[in-house]
Amino acid sequence: MKPKTADRLATIAFWLLGGITVGVLLFIILQIFGRGILTALNPRFLLGKPEAMKEGGGVLPMIVSTLYLTGLTLAISLPVSLGAAVFLSEYAREGRLTNAIRFCVDSLASLPSIVFGLFGMTLFVIYFGWVYSLIAGAFTCAILNLPTLMRSSEESLRSVPGTYREASLSLGATKWTTVRQVVLPSATPGILAGTMLTIGRIIGESAAIVYTAGLFVRNIPTSPMDTAAPLAGYIWYAQTEALIPDFRRVVDGGAALLLLLVLLVNFAARRIGRYYQRKKMAGGADG
């Protein structure tokens, strides 16, 4: 084959492969939105209570469950993972301990989420007696997301130039002041980006929460001890086990809504990242 022909073939092949990737995504998005977007945006569906046996149920408690669960999970996992990341990148000297920590974290990250779900059920739901509750689901999700959140935070901290740390220390700052005033603010956009990805994962998580947070509720959960039904788990439930006559409508609408939520979070992540980039350039005025 002539080099020129080979080049042309290669070009076509790569365009094709790139096109397939975009095409698959577009196909899924269009399918889901095409089937469910009208239902998803219908106020009676969005703001209504679910029905167990009848038609016309809504998903408001599920939306609240999802948001509630996301907030609680972050409240638990963000401080822990950020603290561990600061320890690994700023305090720990490379050695056996840091290697052990990284090995554990990476192993944790490669476990399938159903394992976390069953572990959470055994420990939180049964052993601690928390039954199906938001708090049990949040702890399970927090453990599930700890590795990614920690590693992404650690990467962001490590990407802060060492010259900033040197400058701060040479001006008579302590290590902790340097971390607080210089390193963390500079790493914030990266940490936020990682957090946003995590939020997307929590919103879409089902295997870890169906046996911990709950599958079906009629009322909006208020206390962390309340049983909940996050949207992703509820879609699975409606499709496979529920006795709802119009389950197709609920599943399609729920899926469209879920996709919408995740897209919104991704969009917000980009906006927040850009905002912080600008604010960082303009200088954080926090004393």
């Binding site: 400058a167 220390l169 040479s170 001006l171 700052a173």
Partner: protein
């Protein structure tokens, strides 16, 4: 004619020398004294038995070929080497008679007394104002008026005020390289140090910006003791009063001070043959 001129120059130099000697008599001893200072990174010995006296309110240049340990030497003076894992220092560095490597010595206080300007301008990704206010804030200054005063004064001392007074709340990263470096100097001045260490402060700057920084150093000499590491011999000759020449004999051996003395001496009439060879550009 030429003969006469030479005699006049000779006479002027003698007068200046005796004047310098007299004024030095009145001064208390050197600001910093390095006594048998050795330093190693892990198994690698970077510096050995360094003896040096840093005179008060003068500029001391440390020159030498790349990799001779001159930056390491500088970083021993404010214990910035402490943050490098595996780095070990023995011997003494005395600041006004006190050994800064004494276990009880307050490193924070040391770094406020001995400030540092780095090779690459490294302002924080904050505003111009916040960069200068960083040190005073660390020291506990909270009053807005006082902070404003310190920021303005420091920027004026660093000859940067006129250029940035309109953009104090703009990002420091938007300044030019030379302005950033003078901002870093202002940031150090705001801490009110007594000694300022400069680690090749102009190596990332163009000639015009370099000139401005050198002018600034000449002004600051009145009030501060300065130590500048440079691989630019012209710069050492231009700005410094004293010069220390550091080199390594063979690859892998530790750096040592070959010669130390008044700059014009070192550059016109070096005592050591190795200094002469380096200065005349025959190696390094």
């Amino acid at each position: 004619m030429d003969d006469q001129r030479e005699r006049i120059t000779e006479y002027t130099r003698k007068c200046a020398d005796s004047f310098l000697q007299e004024t030095r008599m009145e001064e208390p001893g050197p600001r910093m004294t390095l006594d048998n200072l050795s330093m190693s990174y892990g198994d690698f010995r970077a510096l050995e038995d360094i003896m040096l006296e840093i005179p008060r309110e003068r500029i001391t240049a440390i020159i030498g070929p790349s990799g001779c340990g001159k930056s390491s030497l500088l970083r021993c003076l404010n214990r910035m080497n402490d943050i490098i894992p595996g780095c070990r220092v023995t011997g003494e560095v005395r600041l006004d008679g006190e050994n800064i490597y004494d276990p009880g010595y307050d490193v924070i206080r040391l770094r406020r007394t001995v400030g540092m300007v780095f090779q690459k301008p490294n302002p924080f990704p904050k505003t111009v104002y916040e960069n200068v206010a960083y040190g005073p804030r660390l020291a506990g200054v909270k009053d807005k008026g006082e902070l404003n005063g310190v920021v303005e004064e420091s920027l004026k001392k660093a000859a940067l005020w006129e250029e940035v007074k309109g953009k104090l709340l703009g990002p420091a990263m938007n300044l030019s390289g030379g302005q950033q470096q003078r901002l870093c100097i202002a940031r150090v001045l705001a801490v009110e140090p007594e000694v300022i260490l400069l680690d090749e402060p102009c190596s990332a700057l163009d000639p015009v910006a370099t000139q401005r920084v050198e002018d600034l150093l000449a002004e600051l000499k009145e009030r501060y003791t300065m130590v500048i590491v440079t691989h630019n011999m012209q710069q050492a000759a231009r700005v410094s009063d004293f010069t220390a020449f550091v080199m390594i004999e063979n690859q892998g051996e530790p750096g040592e001070v070959v010669e130390f003395g008044e700059t014009n001496h070192i550059f016109t009439n070096p005592a050591d043959e190795r200094t002469e060879r380096y200065i005349t550009g025959r190696f390094g």
